[in-house]
Protein backbone atom coordinates (compact mmCIF):
# COMPACT_ATOMS: atom_id res chain seq x y z
CA UNK A 1 0.00 0.00 0.00
CA UNK A 2 2.53 2.58 1.11
CA UNK A 3 5.07 1.78 -1.65
CA UNK A 4 2.31 1.99 -4.28
CA UNK A 5 1.07 5.29 -2.89
CA UNK A 6 4.54 6.78 -2.72
CA UNK A 7 5.45 5.78 -6.27
CA UNK A 8 2.14 7.13 -7.59
CA UNK A 9 2.68 10.42 -5.79
CA UNK A 10 6.16 10.66 -7.27
CA UNK A 11 4.72 10.04 -10.74
CA UNK A 12 1.97 12.63 -10.25
CA UNK A 13 4.41 15.25 -9.01
CA UNK A 14 6.79 14.42 -11.83
CA UNK A 15 4.09 14.61 -14.50
CA UNK A 16 2.71 17.92 -13.29
CA UNK A 17 6.23 19.28 -12.97
CA UNK A 18 7.03 18.06 -16.46
CA UNK A 19 3.94 19.67 -17.96
CA UNK A 20 4.45 22.95 -16.12
CA UNK A 21 8.06 22.94 -17.19
CA UNK A 22 7.06 22.33 -20.78
CA UNK A 23 4.43 25.06 -20.58
CA UNK A 24 6.98 27.54 -19.30
CA UNK A 25 9.71 26.45 -21.66
CA UNK A 26 7.49 26.46 -24.74
CA UNK A 27 6.64 30.14 -24.28
CA UNK A 28 10.36 30.80 -24.59
CA UNK A 29 10.83 28.30 -27.44
CA UNK A 30 7.96 29.84 -29.36
CA UNK A 31 9.33 33.35 -29.04
CA UNK A 32 12.89 32.41 -29.87
CA UNK A 33 12.01 30.11 -32.75
CA UNK A 34 9.75 32.71 -34.30
CA UNK A 35 12.51 35.28 -33.92
CA UNK A 36 15.22 33.14 -35.46
CA UNK A 37 13.13 32.12 -38.42
CA UNK A 38 12.21 35.73 -39.15
CA UNK A 39 15.75 37.12 -38.88
CA UNK A 40 15.24 38.62 -35.45
CA UNK A 41 16.96 38.12 -32.11
CA UNK A 42 13.98 37.59 -29.84
CA UNK A 43 13.36 38.50 -26.25
CA UNK A 44 16.64 38.61 -24.34
CA UNK A 45 16.50 41.49 -21.89
CA UNK A 46 15.05 39.92 -18.75
CA UNK A 47 17.74 38.88 -16.31
CA UNK A 48 18.24 37.61 -12.81
CA UNK A 49 20.86 39.47 -10.84
CA UNK A 50 22.74 37.39 -8.31
CA UNK A 51 22.16 39.18 -5.00
CA UNK A 52 24.93 41.48 -3.75
CA UNK A 53 26.79 41.22 -7.05
CA UNK A 54 26.62 42.90 -10.40
CA UNK A 55 26.38 39.58 -12.24
CA UNK A 56 23.26 39.52 -14.39
CA UNK A 57 22.19 36.15 -15.75
CA UNK A 58 20.43 36.54 -19.08
CA UNK A 59 20.63 32.98 -20.45
CA UNK A 60 19.25 33.84 -23.88
CA UNK A 61 16.13 35.37 -22.40
CA UNK A 62 14.97 32.25 -20.57
CA UNK A 63 13.74 34.38 -17.69
CA UNK A 64 11.22 36.25 -19.81
CA UNK A 65 8.71 33.51 -19.03
CA UNK A 66 9.22 34.11 -15.32
CA UNK A 67 8.84 37.84 -15.82
CA UNK A 68 5.61 37.31 -17.76
CA UNK A 69 4.26 34.93 -15.13
CA UNK A 70 5.07 37.38 -12.36
CA UNK A 71 3.40 40.17 -14.29
CA UNK A 72 0.26 38.09 -14.74
CA UNK A 73 0.17 37.17 -11.06
CA UNK A 74 0.53 40.78 -9.94
CA UNK A 75 -1.83 42.38 -12.42
CA UNK A 76 -5.26 43.61 -11.45
CA UNK A 77 -7.82 40.82 -11.71
CA UNK A 78 -10.40 42.66 -13.78
CA UNK A 79 -13.96 41.44 -13.43
CA UNK A 80 -16.50 42.45 -16.05
CA UNK A 81 -20.04 43.25 -14.94
CA UNK A 82 -21.45 39.96 -16.11
CA UNK A 83 -24.60 38.21 -14.99
CA UNK A 84 -22.87 34.86 -14.62
CA UNK A 85 -19.98 35.48 -12.30
CA UNK A 86 -19.66 31.80 -11.34
CA UNK A 87 -19.22 30.55 -14.91
CA UNK A 88 -16.85 33.40 -15.64
CA UNK A 89 -14.64 32.45 -12.70
CA UNK A 90 -14.89 28.73 -13.36
CA UNK A 91 -14.08 28.75 -17.09
CA UNK A 92 -10.26 29.03 -16.94
CA UNK A 93 -10.06 26.11 -14.52
CA UNK A 94 -12.40 24.02 -16.67
CA UNK A 95 -10.02 24.64 -19.54
CA UNK A 96 -6.86 24.06 -17.54
CA UNK A 97 -7.65 20.99 -15.41
CA UNK A 98 -8.55 18.48 -18.20
CA UNK A 99 -5.35 19.37 -20.03
CA UNK A 100 -3.37 18.16 -17.03
CA UNK A 101 -5.61 15.13 -16.54
CA UNK A 102 -5.05 13.84 -20.07
CA UNK A 103 -1.42 13.20 -19.27
CA UNK A 104 -2.39 10.74 -16.52
CA UNK A 105 -2.93 7.88 -18.97
CA UNK A 106 0.06 8.56 -21.21
CA UNK A 107 2.95 6.17 -20.46
CA UNK A 108 6.30 7.94 -20.26
CA UNK A 109 8.41 4.86 -19.63
CA UNK A 110 8.36 1.08 -19.38
CA UNK A 111 8.18 -0.98 -16.23
CA UNK A 112 10.30 0.39 -13.41
CA UNK A 113 11.72 -1.61 -10.51
CA UNK A 114 12.58 1.03 -7.92
CA UNK A 115 14.34 -1.51 -5.70
CA UNK A 116 16.80 -2.31 -8.49
CA UNK A 117 17.64 1.32 -9.22
CA UNK A 118 17.95 2.39 -5.57
CA UNK A 119 19.30 -0.64 -3.69
CA UNK A 120 18.75 1.18 -0.40
CA UNK A 121 14.99 1.08 -1.03
CA UNK A 122 14.81 -2.58 -2.10
CA UNK A 123 13.51 -3.57 1.32
CA UNK A 124 10.74 -0.97 1.08
CA UNK A 125 9.52 -1.98 -2.38
CA UNK A 126 10.12 -5.74 -1.97
CA UNK A 127 10.84 -6.29 -5.68
CA UNK A 128 7.56 -4.82 -6.92
CA UNK A 129 7.56 -3.25 -10.38
CA UNK A 130 5.45 -0.33 -11.57
CA UNK A 131 4.53 0.95 -15.02
CA UNK A 132 5.83 4.47 -15.55
CA UNK A 133 2.42 6.04 -15.93
CA UNK A 134 0.24 7.93 -13.47
CA UNK A 135 -2.86 5.79 -14.09
CA UNK A 136 -2.45 2.51 -15.94
CA UNK A 137 -6.00 2.39 -17.26
CA UNK A 138 -7.08 -0.13 -19.85
CA UNK A 139 -9.49 2.49 -21.22
CA UNK A 140 -6.46 4.59 -22.23
CA UNK A 141 -7.34 6.47 -25.37
CA UNK A 142 -11.01 6.77 -24.39
CA UNK A 143 -9.99 8.65 -21.25
CA UNK A 144 -7.91 10.97 -23.39
CA UNK A 145 -10.90 11.85 -25.53
CA UNK A 146 -13.23 12.12 -22.54
CA UNK A 147 -11.00 14.68 -20.87
CA UNK A 148 -9.96 16.63 -23.92
CA UNK A 149 -13.66 16.95 -24.75
CA UNK A 150 -14.14 18.82 -21.45
CA UNK A 151 -11.95 21.67 -22.71
CA UNK A 152 -14.72 22.62 -25.16
CA UNK A 153 -17.02 23.29 -22.21
CA UNK A 154 -14.50 25.67 -20.69
CA UNK A 155 -14.05 27.72 -23.83
CA UNK A 156 -17.79 27.93 -24.42
CA UNK A 157 -18.39 28.90 -20.78
CA UNK A 158 -15.78 31.63 -21.09
CA UNK A 159 -17.28 32.93 -24.31
CA UNK A 160 -20.81 32.92 -22.96
CA UNK A 161 -20.28 34.27 -19.47
CA UNK A 162 -18.03 37.19 -20.44
CA UNK A 163 -21.06 39.14 -21.69
CA UNK A 164 -19.09 40.46 -24.63
CA UNK A 165 -19.89 40.11 -28.32
CA UNK A 166 -16.32 39.22 -29.27
CA UNK A 167 -16.16 36.63 -26.52
CA UNK A 168 -19.49 35.15 -27.57
CA UNK A 169 -18.38 34.89 -31.20
CA UNK A 170 -15.11 33.36 -30.10
CA UNK A 171 -16.90 30.87 -27.89
CA UNK A 172 -19.26 29.91 -30.72
CA UNK A 173 -16.36 29.45 -33.10
CA UNK A 174 -14.41 27.45 -30.52
CA UNK A 175 -17.41 25.22 -29.90
CA UNK A 176 -18.12 24.38 -33.54
CA UNK A 177 -14.45 24.05 -34.43
CA UNK A 178 -13.49 21.80 -31.54
CA UNK A 179 -16.51 19.54 -31.95
CA UNK A 180 -15.78 19.16 -35.68
CA UNK A 181 -12.14 18.34 -35.22
CA UNK A 182 -12.73 16.16 -32.16
CA UNK A 183 -14.70 13.90 -34.50
CA UNK A 184 -11.89 13.73 -37.05
CA UNK A 185 -9.36 13.13 -34.29
CA UNK A 186 -11.38 10.30 -32.81
CA UNK A 187 -11.93 8.60 -36.15
CA UNK A 188 -8.24 8.76 -37.11
CA UNK A 189 -7.38 6.95 -33.90
CA UNK A 190 -10.03 4.30 -34.66
CA UNK A 191 -7.77 2.98 -37.42
CA UNK A 192 -4.94 2.53 -34.94
CA UNK A 193 -7.25 0.79 -32.50
CA UNK A 194 -8.15 -1.65 -35.27
CA UNK A 195 -4.49 -2.29 -36.08
CA UNK A 196 -3.33 -2.78 -32.51
CA UNK A 197 -6.55 -4.31 -31.26
CA UNK A 198 -6.49 -2.38 -28.01
CA UNK A 199 -7.29 1.00 -26.50
CA UNK A 200 -4.67 0.64 -23.77
CA UNK A 201 -1.87 3.10 -24.53
CA UNK A 202 0.80 1.03 -22.76
CA UNK A 203 -0.18 -2.01 -24.78
CA UNK A 204 -0.01 0.06 -27.97
CA UNK A 205 3.52 1.24 -27.14
CA UNK A 206 4.64 -2.31 -26.38
CA UNK A 207 3.29 -3.53 -29.72
CA UNK A 208 5.14 -0.69 -31.47
CA UNK A 209 8.50 -1.99 -30.27
CA UNK A 210 8.10 -4.90 -32.72
CA UNK A 211 9.06 -4.93 -36.37
CA UNK A 212 7.25 -4.74 -39.70
CA UNK A 213 8.78 -6.98 -42.33
CA UNK A 214 11.88 -7.66 -40.29
CA UNK A 215 13.50 -4.22 -40.37
CA UNK A 216 10.97 -1.38 -40.07
CA UNK A 217 9.99 -0.50 -36.49
CA UNK A 218 6.29 -1.25 -36.03
CA UNK A 219 5.36 2.35 -35.33
CA UNK A 220 1.84 3.56 -35.85
CA UNK A 221 3.25 6.07 -38.33
CA UNK A 222 4.16 3.21 -40.70
CA UNK A 223 0.86 1.40 -40.21
CA UNK A 224 -1.28 4.50 -40.64
CA UNK A 225 0.67 7.31 -42.38
CA UNK A 226 -2.46 9.11 -43.53
CA UNK A 227 -4.04 8.90 -40.10
CA UNK A 228 -0.86 10.37 -38.59
CA UNK A 229 -1.11 13.48 -40.76
CA UNK A 230 -4.84 13.81 -40.15
CA UNK A 231 -4.40 13.31 -36.41
CA UNK A 232 -1.76 16.02 -36.18
CA UNK A 233 -3.92 18.41 -38.24
CA UNK A 234 -6.98 17.75 -36.12
CA UNK A 235 -4.96 18.01 -32.92
CA UNK A 236 -3.56 21.41 -33.90
CA UNK A 237 -7.10 22.53 -34.75
CA UNK A 238 -8.28 21.15 -31.43
CA UNK A 239 -5.62 23.23 -29.74
CA UNK A 240 -6.89 26.36 -31.56
CA UNK A 241 -3.52 27.40 -32.89
CA UNK A 242 -2.67 28.96 -36.23
CA UNK A 243 -3.76 28.04 -38.92
CA UNK A 244 -6.89 27.15 -36.93
CA UNK A 245 -6.89 30.01 -34.42
CA UNK A 246 -10.30 31.31 -35.47
CA UNK A 247 -11.71 31.39 -31.89
CA UNK A 248 -9.06 33.86 -30.79
CA UNK A 249 -8.24 35.56 -34.09
CA UNK A 250 -6.68 38.85 -33.01
CA UNK A 251 -7.48 40.71 -36.17
CA UNK A 252 -11.16 39.77 -36.02
CA UNK A 253 -12.16 39.11 -32.42
CA UNK A 254 -9.65 41.01 -30.22
CA UNK A 255 -8.74 37.90 -28.23
CA UNK A 256 -11.82 35.77 -28.85
CA UNK A 257 -13.34 33.92 -25.95
CA UNK A 258 -10.84 35.28 -23.42
CA UNK A 259 -11.16 38.93 -24.34
CA UNK A 260 -12.60 39.79 -20.93
CA UNK A 261 -10.06 37.85 -18.93
CA UNK A 262 -7.05 39.45 -17.37
CA UNK A 263 -4.21 38.62 -15.02
CA UNK A 264 -3.71 34.98 -14.11
CA UNK A 265 -7.06 33.85 -15.50
CA UNK A 266 -5.88 34.88 -18.94
CA UNK A 267 -2.56 33.31 -18.02
CA UNK A 268 -4.32 30.02 -17.35
CA UNK A 269 -5.83 30.04 -20.85
CA UNK A 270 -2.43 30.75 -22.38
CA UNK A 271 -0.71 28.20 -20.20
CA UNK A 272 -3.33 25.57 -21.05
CA UNK A 273 -2.65 26.21 -24.72
CA UNK A 274 1.08 25.73 -24.32
CA UNK A 275 0.67 22.62 -22.18
CA UNK A 276 -1.70 21.25 -24.77
CA UNK A 277 1.07 21.55 -27.36
CA UNK A 278 3.08 19.20 -25.19
CA UNK A 279 0.05 16.94 -24.67
CA UNK A 280 -0.59 16.72 -28.41
CA UNK A 281 3.09 15.91 -28.92
CA UNK A 282 2.95 13.24 -26.19
CA UNK A 283 -0.18 11.68 -27.69
CA UNK A 284 1.30 11.66 -31.17
CA UNK A 285 4.50 10.12 -29.82
CA UNK A 286 2.58 7.42 -27.99
CA UNK A 287 0.23 6.59 -30.85
CA UNK A 288 2.43 6.97 -33.90
CA UNK A 289 6.10 7.24 -32.95
CA UNK A 290 6.63 4.24 -30.73
CA UNK A 291 6.17 6.06 -27.44
CA UNK A 292 9.10 6.00 -25.05
CA UNK A 293 11.08 3.41 -27.02
CA UNK A 294 13.82 3.99 -29.53
CA UNK A 295 13.61 1.90 -32.71
CA UNK A 296 14.35 -1.79 -32.05
CA UNK A 297 14.17 -1.17 -28.30
CA UNK A 298 12.07 -2.74 -25.58
CA UNK A 299 12.19 -2.94 -21.81
CA UNK A 300 15.03 -5.48 -21.85
CA UNK A 301 17.31 -3.73 -24.32
CA UNK A 302 17.78 -3.55 -28.06
CA UNK A 303 16.70 -6.28 -30.48
CA UNK A 304 18.34 -5.46 -33.78
CA UNK A 305 16.83 -6.62 -37.12
CA UNK A 306 19.51 -9.28 -37.59
CA UNK A 307 18.37 -11.05 -34.44
CA UNK A 308 21.19 -9.73 -32.24
CA UNK A 309 20.15 -8.50 -28.84
CA UNK A 310 21.94 -5.94 -26.73
CA UNK A 311 21.00 -6.18 -23.08
CA UNK A 312 21.36 -3.02 -21.02
CA UNK A 313 21.01 -2.46 -17.31
CA UNK A 314 17.63 -1.56 -15.86
CA UNK A 315 18.59 1.89 -14.62
CA UNK A 316 20.00 2.85 -18.01
CA UNK A 317 16.86 1.58 -19.76
CA UNK A 318 14.68 3.77 -17.54
CA UNK A 319 16.83 6.81 -18.20
CA UNK A 320 16.94 6.11 -21.94
CA UNK A 321 13.19 5.69 -22.11
CA UNK A 322 12.53 8.94 -20.24
CA UNK A 323 15.06 10.77 -22.40
CA UNK A 324 13.63 9.36 -25.61
CA UNK A 325 10.11 10.32 -24.60
CA UNK A 326 11.15 13.88 -23.75
CA UNK A 327 13.20 14.25 -26.93
CA UNK A 328 10.34 13.06 -29.12
CA UNK A 329 7.87 15.37 -27.38
CA UNK A 330 10.23 18.31 -27.73
CA UNK A 331 10.85 17.68 -31.41
CA UNK A 332 7.11 17.51 -32.07
CA UNK A 333 6.53 20.71 -30.08
CA UNK A 334 9.13 22.46 -32.21
CA UNK A 335 7.41 21.10 -35.33
CA UNK A 336 4.04 22.43 -34.16
CA UNK A 337 5.53 25.84 -33.43
CA UNK A 338 7.13 25.81 -36.88
CA UNK A 339 3.70 25.18 -38.39
CA UNK A 340 2.19 27.93 -36.29
CA UNK A 341 4.70 30.49 -37.59
CA UNK A 342 4.59 29.34 -41.21
CA UNK A 343 0.96 29.12 -42.20
CA UNK A 344 -1.72 31.78 -42.60
CA UNK A 345 -5.09 31.55 -40.88
CA UNK A 346 -8.08 29.86 -42.49
CA UNK A 347 -11.28 31.69 -43.13
CA UNK A 348 -14.06 30.47 -40.86
CA UNK A 349 -16.14 28.75 -43.57
CA UNK A 350 -12.98 27.27 -45.07
CA UNK A 351 -12.03 25.82 -41.73
CA UNK A 352 -15.40 24.12 -41.20
CA UNK A 353 -15.66 22.83 -44.77
CA UNK A 354 -12.06 21.62 -44.48
CA UNK A 355 -13.09 19.50 -41.52
CA UNK A 356 -16.42 18.19 -42.81
CA UNK A 357 -15.84 17.98 -46.56
CA UNK A 358 -12.19 16.98 -46.73
CA UNK A 359 -10.80 15.56 -43.50
CA UNK A 360 -13.85 13.57 -42.45
CA UNK A 361 -14.32 11.73 -45.78
CA UNK A 362 -10.60 10.96 -46.00
CA UNK A 363 -10.67 9.70 -42.43
CA UNK A 364 -13.68 7.49 -43.14
CA UNK A 365 -12.06 6.06 -46.29
CA UNK A 366 -8.87 5.43 -44.35
CA UNK A 367 -10.85 3.72 -41.61
CA UNK A 368 -12.77 1.56 -44.09
CA UNK A 369 -9.61 0.46 -45.89
CA UNK A 370 -7.91 -0.28 -42.57
CA UNK A 371 -10.88 -2.34 -41.44
CA UNK A 372 -10.89 -4.37 -44.64
CA UNK A 373 -7.12 -4.97 -44.53
CA UNK A 374 -7.25 -6.01 -40.86
CA UNK A 375 -10.18 -8.31 -41.61
CA UNK A 376 -8.25 -9.95 -44.48
CA UNK A 377 -5.12 -10.33 -42.38
CA UNK A 378 -7.16 -11.98 -39.64
CA UNK A 379 -8.22 -14.62 -42.14
CA UNK A 380 -11.32 -12.99 -43.63
CA UNK A 381 -13.60 -14.73 -41.19
Amino acid sequence: MLPDLSITLVFIAGSIGLLMGFGGLLTWVERKQAAVMSDRIGANRAYIRIPFTKIELVWLGLFHGMADGLKMLLKEDFKPRTYDQLAYTLAPYVVFAPVLLVFAVIPFGGMIDPGKIFPALSGFFEGRTYPMQVANLSAGILVVFAFSGLTILGTMLAGWSSDNKFSLLGGLRAGSQMISYELVMGLTVMGLILVFGTVDLRDMVNQQSGLIGGFLPAWGLFYQPLAAILFLTAAIAENKRIPFDLPEAESELVAGYYTEYSAMKMGLFMFAEFIEIAIVAALFTTLFLGGYNLPYMNDAGFTLPGGNTIAISHGFVVLLQLGTFLAKIFALCVFQIQIRWSLPRFRYDQMLSFAWKLLLPITLVNLAITAVVVWIKDGAR
Binding site: Q33, M37, D39, R40, Q338, S342
Partner: protein
Amino acid sequence: MSTEVRSSLTPIHTAPGTATAARVTPTLPSPTDAPAPVPRQELHQLRYNAKAHVRKEYWNAPTMTLWERSYLPEILRGLTITTGIFLRNMFKWVTGRKGALTTYYPEEKRADYAPRNRGKHILTQRPDGSPQCIACNMCATVCPAKVIEIEVGFDVNDPAHPKSPVRFEIDYSRCVFCGLCIEACPEDAIRMVQDVPELVSNDRFNMWLTMEEMLTWNPQSDVAKPYPPKGGKPILGAPVKRDESRGGVSSTH
Protein backbone atom coordinates in the same frame (compact mmCIF):
# COMPACT_ATOMS: atom_id res chain seq x y z
CA MET B 1 -28.11 74.13 -83.77
CA SER B 2 -28.88 76.06 -80.66
CA THR B 3 -32.40 74.75 -80.54
CA GLU B 4 -31.27 71.17 -80.61
CA VAL B 5 -31.95 69.38 -77.42
CA ARG B 6 -29.26 66.90 -76.79
CA SER B 7 -30.53 63.77 -75.26
CA SER B 8 -28.71 60.66 -74.34
CA LEU B 9 -29.84 59.06 -77.57
CA THR B 10 -28.33 61.77 -79.82
CA PRO B 11 -25.06 60.70 -81.39
CA ILE B 12 -22.47 63.00 -79.88
CA HIS B 13 -20.06 62.96 -82.81
CA THR B 14 -22.43 64.14 -85.56
CA ALA B 15 -20.81 66.59 -87.93
CA PRO B 16 -22.22 70.16 -87.72
CA GLY B 17 -23.31 70.28 -91.38
CA THR B 18 -25.19 67.05 -91.36
CA ALA B 19 -26.59 67.52 -87.95
CA THR B 20 -30.00 68.75 -89.06
CA ALA B 21 -30.43 66.00 -91.59
CA ALA B 22 -29.10 63.19 -89.52
CA ARG B 23 -30.70 64.28 -86.32
CA VAL B 24 -32.38 61.53 -84.53
CA THR B 25 -35.41 62.49 -82.65
CA PRO B 26 -35.21 60.98 -79.22
CA THR B 27 -37.96 58.48 -78.78
CA LEU B 28 -39.00 56.93 -75.56
CA PRO B 29 -39.73 53.24 -75.73
CA SER B 30 -43.42 52.84 -76.21
CA PRO B 31 -45.33 50.93 -73.58
CA THR B 32 -45.96 48.12 -76.03
CA ASP B 33 -42.20 47.46 -76.36
CA ALA B 34 -41.75 46.78 -72.68
CA PRO B 35 -41.29 43.15 -71.73
CA ALA B 36 -44.33 41.40 -70.49
CA PRO B 37 -44.55 41.50 -66.70
CA VAL B 38 -43.02 38.43 -65.09
CA PRO B 39 -45.41 36.42 -62.99
CA ARG B 40 -44.91 36.96 -59.30
CA GLN B 41 -43.87 33.42 -58.50
CA GLU B 42 -41.37 33.31 -61.36
CA LEU B 43 -39.88 36.67 -60.36
CA HIS B 44 -39.39 35.41 -56.87
CA GLN B 45 -37.60 32.37 -58.23
CA LEU B 46 -35.37 34.56 -60.44
CA ARG B 47 -34.38 36.75 -57.53
CA TYR B 48 -33.79 33.70 -55.41
CA ASN B 49 -31.43 32.27 -58.00
CA ALA B 50 -29.65 35.53 -58.59
CA LYS B 51 -29.05 36.48 -55.01
CA ALA B 52 -28.41 33.39 -53.05
CA HIS B 53 -27.62 30.51 -55.29
CA VAL B 54 -25.44 31.92 -58.04
CA ARG B 55 -21.94 32.30 -56.74
CA LYS B 56 -20.35 35.56 -57.72
CA GLU B 57 -17.37 35.17 -59.97
CA TYR B 58 -14.45 37.45 -59.31
CA TRP B 59 -12.11 38.62 -62.03
CA ASN B 60 -9.13 37.89 -59.80
CA ALA B 61 -10.31 34.55 -58.48
CA PRO B 62 -7.26 32.42 -57.72
CA THR B 63 -6.51 29.77 -60.29
CA MET B 64 -4.78 26.87 -58.66
CA THR B 65 -3.58 23.64 -60.07
CA LEU B 66 -4.66 20.35 -58.57
CA TRP B 67 -1.23 20.04 -56.97
CA GLU B 68 -1.72 23.37 -55.21
CA ARG B 69 -5.28 22.61 -54.23
CA SER B 70 -4.34 19.31 -52.64
CA TYR B 71 -2.92 21.53 -49.88
CA LEU B 72 -0.39 19.26 -48.26
CA PRO B 73 2.50 19.63 -50.76
CA GLU B 74 2.24 23.41 -50.67
CA ILE B 75 2.24 23.36 -46.89
CA LEU B 76 5.34 21.21 -46.93
CA ARG B 77 6.95 23.64 -49.37
CA GLY B 78 6.16 26.55 -47.06
CA LEU B 79 7.51 24.65 -44.09
CA THR B 80 10.69 23.86 -46.04
CA ILE B 81 11.24 27.55 -46.69
CA THR B 82 10.72 28.65 -43.09
CA THR B 83 12.71 25.73 -41.71
CA GLY B 84 15.50 26.51 -44.13
CA ILE B 85 15.70 30.08 -42.92
CA PHE B 86 15.52 28.90 -39.32
CA LEU B 87 18.38 26.43 -39.82
CA ARG B 88 20.49 28.97 -41.70
CA ASN B 89 20.10 31.56 -38.94
CA MET B 90 20.57 28.96 -36.22
CA PHE B 91 23.79 27.77 -37.88
CA LYS B 92 25.01 31.36 -37.88
CA TRP B 93 24.21 31.79 -34.19
CA VAL B 94 25.84 28.49 -33.25
CA THR B 95 29.01 29.30 -35.17
CA GLY B 96 29.31 32.61 -33.37
CA ARG B 97 28.00 34.88 -36.06
CA LYS B 98 24.92 37.06 -35.99
CA GLY B 99 21.84 35.40 -37.47
CA ALA B 100 19.56 38.40 -37.35
CA LEU B 101 19.11 41.73 -39.06
CA THR B 102 18.34 43.45 -35.79
CA THR B 103 20.69 46.13 -34.51
CA TYR B 104 21.16 45.30 -30.89
CA TYR B 105 20.92 48.83 -29.50
CA PRO B 106 22.63 50.11 -27.35
CA GLU B 107 25.31 47.43 -27.48
CA GLU B 108 25.45 47.85 -31.25
CA LYS B 109 25.01 51.08 -33.17
CA ARG B 110 24.13 51.31 -36.78
CA ALA B 111 26.32 53.45 -38.99
CA ASP B 112 23.80 53.99 -41.74
CA TYR B 113 21.68 56.78 -40.34
CA ALA B 114 20.25 58.83 -43.16
CA PRO B 115 22.15 62.04 -43.93
CA ARG B 116 18.96 63.94 -43.17
CA ASN B 117 18.43 62.31 -39.83
CA ARG B 118 18.11 64.95 -37.14
CA GLY B 119 18.01 63.17 -33.84
CA LYS B 120 19.54 65.48 -31.28
CA HIS B 121 19.10 69.08 -30.21
CA ILE B 122 22.03 71.44 -29.81
CA LEU B 123 22.28 75.04 -28.70
CA THR B 124 24.35 77.32 -30.91
CA GLN B 125 26.97 79.45 -29.22
CA ARG B 126 28.43 82.88 -29.53
CA PRO B 127 32.20 83.08 -30.08
CA ASP B 128 32.70 83.44 -26.35
CA GLY B 129 30.91 80.16 -25.71
CA SER B 130 27.74 81.52 -24.17
CA PRO B 131 24.49 80.17 -25.60
CA GLN B 132 22.90 82.22 -28.33
CA CYS B 133 19.56 81.55 -26.66
CA ILE B 134 17.77 84.56 -25.24
CA ALA B 135 15.37 82.51 -23.12
CA CYS B 136 12.30 83.87 -24.86
CA ASN B 137 10.43 80.58 -24.28
CA MET B 138 9.13 80.47 -27.84
CA CYS B 139 10.33 76.92 -28.33
CA ALA B 140 8.82 75.81 -25.04
CA THR B 141 5.54 77.44 -26.03
CA VAL B 142 5.33 75.88 -29.46
CA CYS B 143 6.46 72.44 -28.33
CA PRO B 144 3.53 70.03 -28.83
CA ALA B 145 4.88 67.56 -26.32
CA LYS B 146 5.72 70.23 -23.70
CA VAL B 147 9.16 68.84 -23.08
CA ILE B 148 11.35 71.96 -23.02
CA GLU B 149 12.06 73.57 -19.68
CA ILE B 150 13.93 76.87 -19.54
CA GLU B 151 14.98 78.73 -16.46
CA VAL B 152 15.78 82.34 -17.27
CA GLY B 153 18.74 84.23 -15.90
CA PHE B 154 19.11 88.03 -16.04
CA ASP B 155 22.40 89.84 -16.44
CA VAL B 156 22.37 93.67 -16.16
CA ASN B 157 26.00 93.89 -17.28
CA ASP B 158 25.18 92.49 -20.72
CA PRO B 159 22.68 94.99 -22.11
CA ALA B 160 22.66 93.31 -25.53
CA HIS B 161 21.46 90.02 -24.09
CA PRO B 162 20.13 90.59 -20.64
CA LYS B 163 18.21 87.33 -20.68
CA SER B 164 19.92 84.01 -21.08
CA PRO B 165 19.08 80.46 -20.01
CA VAL B 166 20.43 79.25 -16.72
CA ARG B 167 18.88 75.85 -17.22
CA PHE B 168 17.73 74.54 -20.62
CA GLU B 169 16.56 70.95 -20.56
CA ILE B 170 14.66 68.69 -22.92
CA ASP B 171 12.86 65.55 -21.78
CA TYR B 172 13.81 63.03 -24.45
CA SER B 173 11.47 60.39 -23.09
CA ARG B 174 8.61 62.50 -24.45
CA CYS B 175 10.15 64.50 -27.32
CA VAL B 176 8.52 63.74 -30.67
CA PHE B 177 11.35 65.22 -32.79
CA CYS B 178 8.95 67.38 -34.80
CA GLY B 179 11.45 70.26 -35.14
CA LEU B 180 8.90 72.95 -34.29
CA CYS B 181 11.24 74.41 -31.67
CA ILE B 182 13.85 75.04 -34.37
CA GLU B 183 11.28 76.77 -36.55
CA ALA B 184 10.00 78.88 -33.68
CA CYS B 185 13.39 80.10 -32.52
CA PRO B 186 13.95 83.77 -33.51
CA GLU B 187 17.66 83.59 -32.79
CA ASP B 188 18.72 80.34 -34.53
CA ALA B 189 19.75 79.32 -31.05
CA ILE B 190 18.46 75.78 -31.14
CA ARG B 191 19.12 73.36 -33.94
CA MET B 192 18.98 69.64 -34.55
CA VAL B 193 22.04 67.79 -35.77
CA GLN B 194 22.68 64.45 -37.40
CA ASP B 195 23.29 62.51 -34.24
CA VAL B 196 21.46 60.34 -31.75
CA PRO B 197 21.12 61.10 -28.06
CA GLU B 198 22.86 58.40 -26.06
CA LEU B 199 20.31 58.39 -23.30
CA VAL B 200 19.85 54.65 -22.72
CA SER B 201 18.40 54.16 -19.28
CA ASN B 202 15.98 52.11 -17.25
CA ASP B 203 14.71 55.30 -15.66
CA ARG B 204 12.83 57.97 -17.53
CA PHE B 205 14.27 60.68 -15.28
CA ASN B 206 17.68 59.98 -16.74
CA MET B 207 16.43 60.92 -20.18
CA TRP B 208 16.74 64.69 -19.82
CA LEU B 209 19.17 66.34 -22.22
CA THR B 210 20.96 69.03 -20.22
CA MET B 211 22.29 72.38 -21.36
CA GLU B 212 25.92 71.30 -20.91
CA GLU B 213 25.37 68.47 -23.33
CA MET B 214 23.61 70.65 -25.86
CA LEU B 215 26.40 73.22 -25.72
CA THR B 216 29.10 70.77 -26.79
CA TRP B 217 28.54 71.57 -30.46
CA ASN B 218 30.66 74.60 -31.29
CA PRO B 219 31.90 75.03 -34.86
CA GLN B 220 33.63 78.41 -35.04
CA SER B 221 32.71 79.09 -38.65
CA ASP B 222 29.01 78.43 -38.39
CA VAL B 223 27.92 81.02 -35.88
CA ALA B 224 25.06 82.86 -37.54
CA LYS B 225 25.11 86.11 -35.60
CA PRO B 226 28.23 88.19 -34.99
CA TYR B 227 29.11 89.15 -31.48
CA PRO B 228 29.38 91.74 -30.25
CA PRO B 229 26.72 92.99 -32.63
CA LYS B 230 27.67 95.48 -35.31
CA GLY B 231 27.34 99.16 -34.39
CA GLY B 232 29.28 99.03 -31.18
CA LYS B 233 28.25 98.15 -27.72
CA PRO B 234 24.86 99.61 -26.90
CA ILE B 235 24.41 101.55 -23.74
CA LEU B 236 21.76 100.42 -21.31
CA GLY B 237 18.78 102.73 -21.50
CA ALA B 238 19.83 104.41 -24.76
CA PRO B 239 17.22 104.49 -27.55
CA VAL B 240 17.42 101.61 -29.97
CA LYS B 241 19.24 102.66 -33.12
CA ARG B 242 17.07 102.18 -36.18
CA ASP B 243 18.65 100.99 -39.39
CA GLU B 244 16.62 102.84 -42.04
CA SER B 245 18.07 100.80 -44.92
CA ARG B 246 16.49 97.63 -43.49
CA GLY B 247 13.05 99.14 -43.36
CA GLY B 248 13.16 100.06 -39.73
CA VAL B 249 13.46 96.54 -38.51
CA SER B 250 14.94 96.46 -35.08
CA SER B 251 17.13 93.75 -33.79
CA THR B 252 17.45 92.47 -30.32
CA HIS B 253 21.21 92.42 -30.69
